[in-house]
C-alpha cells in the first residue's frame, strides 16, 4: 500500500505542475477550456492527495510498521486516536497535511468563486498550483511518508507528552490557519496578475481570511494551554522561535483584516493590503521553515534538517515574486480617495495597522537576530524574554487603547467634541477601575495596572457602542445581524481584553514560593496553606509514576497530587505531572510543581498562585464565538454579490 501512497503523491505532483503551467497559458491566452482543465487539475490534485493521506492514516491505525513513518511515531500500545494524530506528529506526515489542507482549501475556494470571478480565478489556479507543486515535490523527492522497511516487531511510539488532547488538536488547528492564508494570497496574486485590482478579490476571500486567522489564533491558545498543563514549568508562552512562528502571521493577518475594511469602503490602502496579505503568507511559510530547519535554537528542534534549504528557497522565490508583482501593478493600485482627517475611523485603522505590523516586525527581528548576528559578526547572539515583554507593552498597550477608541470614531472625519462626549463614560469607568485596583493593592505593577485600566476602558466602550447601536437599530439582534462582521469583531475585541487581563494578572500579580518539605511540613503561599503528606510510587508496565500528596487549606481546601512520570519505552523520558487547582470564581490557579524526590521523603516544591490566568482560556472561547458571528453567512449580502457580478444571463 505504500506504493499506492507514492503513486498518489506522484500524481498530485503532476497535477499541481499541470495546474501551474497550463493555468498560466490559459489565463494569458484567454482560453476557456484550457482554464477549466487547469482548474480540474487542482481539484484532482486534492483527490489524489486525499488518497495518499488515506493510505498513511490507514497504515497508522493498522500499525503497519513496514512504513518507516508508522514505526517511528507509533507502537502497538498506542490507542487508535493517538495513532491517527501521529499523522502530523512528524516531518513527512505534517507536510502531507499541509498539501492536503492547501489543495482542499484551494478546491473549495476556486469552486465557490468559479462562476462569479472567472477572470480572476483563471489566475488564482496557477498560483495555488505553484504552491502545491512545491509541497508535492518535497513529499515526492525529499521527505516521503511512504518509505518502507522490513517491519520491526513494534514501533518507537509517540512521545508521551504529545499524547494529550490539546497537543492532538493543536497542529491541525495551526495548519488550517497557516495554510488558509494561502487563499487570500492566491486571490491577491490573481488580482494583480489579471489586472483586476478592484475590491472583488477582497470580498471573495474575506471569510477565508477570517477563518484562517481564527484557526491560527485558536491553535496558538491550544498550544499555550498544553504547555501550561503538560510541560509544567508554570508558564504558557516562552517567546520561543517556534511559538513566534505562529504569532507573526497572526499579527499580520490581524492587521490585514482591519485594513481591508478601509479598501472596501474607501478604496484606500490598496498597496498596503497587497503587502500585508503577502507578508502574512510568507510568514506562515517562513514559520514552517523555522520549525523544520533547525536554523535557530529552539526548545522544539535541535538538528538541522535537509528540508530547510528547500523551504528557504521557496520563501525567497515567493517573496521576490510577490514584490515584483506588486511593483509591476503599482499603477493599478492607486487609491480612489484619500485620508481626510487624522481623527477618523480610517485613521484609527491605520494606527492600529502600524502598531500591529510594528509588533510583528519586532518579533521577527527577535527571531532572526541569532541568524543575522552569525552572518554579520560570525557569532550567534540571542535576545531574551525582556526584549519581547518590553515591546509587547510598548505596542500592545496602545493597541488596547485603540480597540476602545476606534469603534467610537466616525468615518471620514470625526469631531473631537463628539468623541470626547462618547468617551466620557468609558474614561470615567477606567479611572474608577484604576482607583479601585490601586486601593486593593494592584498598583504594585505599573504595566499591570495600565493594562487593567485600559481593559476597563475598552469594555466600557464596547458597552457604549452596543447600547447606542441598539437604540438606533431597534433591537440588539437586528443590530448584530445587520452587521455581523462589525459586531463579531467587537466580541473578538472583548476576548482580547480578557486575554490582556489574564496575561497581566497571571504575570504581574503572580506569587511564587519554593521550599523543600519533608512529610508533615507546611508552606504558605498567598493565603494557601499546603501540607505535604508523603509520596506514593505507582509502577505500571509502561511507566513509573511518583506523586506527592498535598493537603490544601485556604481559599480552596482539598487534596492535590503532583509529581512526575518516567516512561520505560522512551529512553526514560520523564514528564512532570503538575497539580493544578482552578478557582473559577476568581479565575485563579494554584499550581504546584514537585521535583527532586529524595529517599528520605523530602521533596522540593515550587508553588505558584496565578490570578486571573483562566481568563486567557475563557478568552479563547469568546474569540471563537466572535469569529463565528463575524463569519456567519449573510444571505442578503450573498444575493447582492451574485446580482452584482452575474448580470443578465438567461
Amino acid at each position: 500500500m505504500a506504493d499506492l501512497g507514492r503513486a498518489a503523491l506522484a500524481v498530485s505532483l503532476g497535477l499541481a505542475v499541470y495546474a501551474l503551467v497550463v493555468g498560466i497559458v490559459a489565463a494569458r491566452s484567454n482560453r476557456r477550456r484550457l482554464a477549466v482543465s487547469a482548474r480540474n487539475a487542482l481539484f484532482a490534485c486534492f483527490g489524489s492527495t486525499l488518497v495518499a493521506a488515506a493510505v498513511l492514516a490507514s497504515a497508522l491505525v493498522r500499525h503497519d510498521f513496514s512504513f518507516v513513518y508508522v514505526a517511528q511515531h507509533t507502537n502497538r500500545t498506542l490507542s487508535a486516536r493517538y495513532a491517527l494524530t501521529a499523522f502530523w506528529g512528524g516531518q513527512e506526515g505534517s507536510l502531507l497535511l499541509w498539501l492536503l489542507v492547501l489543495t482542499g482549501y484551494g478546491t473549495l475556494a476556486v469552486a465557490v468563486n468559479r462562476r462569479l470571478l472567472r477572470d480572476l480565478v483563471a489566475w488564482v489556479v496557477p498560483v495555488l498550483g505553484g504552491i502545491a507543486t512545491f509541497f508535492a515535490f518535497v513529499l515526492v523527492a525529499i521527505a516521503s511518508p511512504f518509505d518502507t522497511q522490513t517491519a520491526p516487531v513494534d514501533g518507537l511510539g509517540l512521545t508521551p507528552s504529545l499524547q494529550n488532547p490539546y497537543m492532538a488538536i493543536h497542529p491541525p488547528m495551526l495548519y488550517l490557519g497557516y495554510v488558509g492564508l494561502a487563499i487570500p494570497f492566491s486571490f491577491a496574486a490573481g488580482a494583480l496578475l489579471s489586472g483586476k485590482t478592484d475590491e472583488r478579490w477582497l470580498v471573495a476571500t474575506r471569510r477565508w481570511t477570517l477563518a484562517a486567522w481564527a484557526f491560527l489564533g485558536v491553535g496558538q491558545l491550544l498550544g499555550a494551554h498544553w504547555a501550561y498543563v503538560e510541560v509544567g514549568w508554570g508558564g504558557y508562552y516562552a517567546w520561543d522561535p517556534v511559538e513566534n512562528a505562529a504569532l507573526m502571521p497572526w499579527l499580520a493577518a490581524t492587521a490585514f483584516l482591519h485594513s481591508v475594511m478601509i479598501q472596501e469602503r474607501k478604496g484606500m490602502l490598496k498597496v498596503w493590503n497587497m503587502v500585508l496579505v503577502a507578508l502574512a503568507f510568507e510568514l506562515s511559510v517562513f514559520g514552517t521553515f523555522l520549525t523544520r530547519s533547525g536554523v535557530v535554537n529552539s526548545i522544539h528542534s535541535f538538528a538541522k534538517s535537509p528540508i530547510g534549504s528547500w523551504f528557504l528557497a521557496f520563501v525567497v522565490i515567493s517573496t521576490l515574486f510577490s514584490v515584483a508583482l506588486i511593483l509591476w501593478r503599482l499603477p493599478l493600485l492607486k487609491a480612489r480617495t484619500k485620508l481626510e482627517s487624522a481623527l477618523s475611523r480610517e485613521a484609527t485603522f491605520l494606527y492600529n495597522n502600524l502598531l500591529l505590523v510594528a509588533l510583528c516586525l519586532t518579533v521577527l527581528w527577535g527571531v532572526l537576530f541569532p541568524i543575522l548576528t552569525q552572518l554579520v559578526q560570525g557569532e550567534t547572539r540571542t535576545i531574551g524574554r525582556p526584549y519581547y515583554d518590553f515591546f509587547l507593552r510598548a505596542f500592545g498597550l496602545p493597541l488596547l487603547l485603540l480597540m476602545g477608541i476606534g469603534p467610537l470614531v466616525a468615518w471620514r472625519k470625526a469631531s473631537a467634541r463628539s468623541l470626547l462626549k462618547l468617551l466620557a463614560w468609558p474614561i470615567a469607568t477606567a479611572v474608577v477601575a484604576g482607583a479601585i485596583l490601586v486601593a486593593v493593592g494592584a498598583g504594585s505593577s505599573k504595566p499591570g495596572l495600565i493594562a487593567y485600566t485600559f481593559s476597563a476602558f475598552v469594555l466600557a466602550t464596547i458597552v457604549v457602542e452596543l447600547v447606542r447601536g441598539t437604540r438606533a437599530a431597534g433591537s440588539l439582534f437586528r443590530l448584530v445581524s445587520r452587521n455581523r462582521r462589525r459586531y463579531g469583531g467587537y466580541v473578538v475585541h472583548a476576548a482580547v481584553v480578557l486575554l490582556a487581563i489574564g496575561i497581566a494578572g497571571s504575570s504581574a500579580y503572580q506569587t511564587t514560593t519554593e521550599q523543600r518539605l519533608v512529610p508533615g511540613q507546611t508552606m504558605t503561599v498567598a493565603g494557601y496553606h499546603l501540607t505535604y503528606r508523603g509520596a506514593t510510587h505507582i509502577d505500571t508496565p509502561n511507566a513509573q509514576r511518583v506523586q506527592a500528596l498535598i493537603d490544601v487549606r485556604g481559599p480552596w481546601s482539598g487534596r492535590l497530587r503532583t509529581g512526575s512520570v518516567t516512561y520505560t519505552g522512551f529512553a526514560g523520558e520523564t514528564d512532570r505531572e503538575v497539580g493544578i487547582k482552578t478557582d473559577w470564581l476568581r479565575a485563579e490557579d494554584l499550581y504546584v510543581i514537585a521535583d527532586d524526590f529524595r529517599p528520605d521523603g523530602a521533596v522540593y516544591f515550587k508553588v505558584l498562585v496565578r490570578p486571573l490566568i483562566n481568563l486567557i482560556w475563557l478568552a479563547g472561547l469568546l474569540f471563537v464565538v466572535g469569529s463565528l458571528v463575524a463569519l456567519w453567512p449573510d444571505a442578503r449580502e450573498q444575493r447582492r454579490l451574485v446580482t452584482r457580478l452575474a448580470p443578465a444571463r438567461a
Binding site: H300, L339, A342, G384
Partner: protein
C-alpha cells in the same frame, strides 16, 4: 484661514515609523543587550553572560537549590569523547524533567574562571521533524 486638503496619511506613517524607531533605540540604549549563543568548544576567550548549547555529560551531582549547586559537564552536540567538556555549576529552579546525561540542553549563565555559573536550563523537546534514533 483655508484648511489644507492634503491627506495626513503620509505624515502619520512617517511619524509612526519615527516613533517605532525611537522606541527601539530607547530599548537598545537602556536594556538591549543580547547574549552570545555558543558551543562549549567555542567558549574560549569569552567572558560575561552566555548561552551555551550542548549535550549533558555526567556525572550529575548536587542540588540546584543548595549553595554548592547542581554540577555537571557539557560538550558539543554530536562530538566524540575527545571534545572538551566544560563544567557547569547551576543554581536555580529544579532542572526540567527531561534533564539527564546525553540530553541536549541550553544553559544560560555567566562564564567564571572557565566554568559556567548557570542560572537557567532548557532541555529541548524531542524533535518531531528529525527521525528518532532506533534503540
Amino acid at each position: 484661514m483655508a484648511r489644507s486638503t492634503r491627506s495626513p496619511a503620509r505624515l502619520i506613517v512617517a511619524l509612526a515609523v519615527a516613533g517605532v524607531l525611537a522606541v527601539f533605540l530607547l530599548y537598545t540604549a537602556v536594556a538591549g543587550n543580547s547574549t552570545p549563543s555558543l558551543t562549549p568548544s567555542g567558549l574560549a576567550g569569552h567572558v560575561g553572560k552566555v548561552q551555551v548549547v550542548g549535550a549533558v555529560v555526567g556525572p550529575i551531582r548536587g542540588d540546584s537549590h543548595s549553595a554548592a549547586g547542581l554540577r555537571f559537564g557539557i560538550r558539543d552536540i554530536g562530538s566524540g569523547a575527545k571534545s572538551p567538556v566544560v563544567q557547569v555549576v547551576y543554581r536555580g529552579d529544579s532542572p526540567p524533567p527531561l534533564f539527564a546525561v546525553t540530553r541536549h540542553v541550553v544553559v544560560s549563565g555567566t562564564i567564571v574562571g572557565g566554568r559556567i555559573a548557570g542560572t537557567g536550563i532548557v532541555t529541548k523537546c524531542p524533535s518531531k521533524y528529525v527521525p528518532t534514533k532506533k534503540y
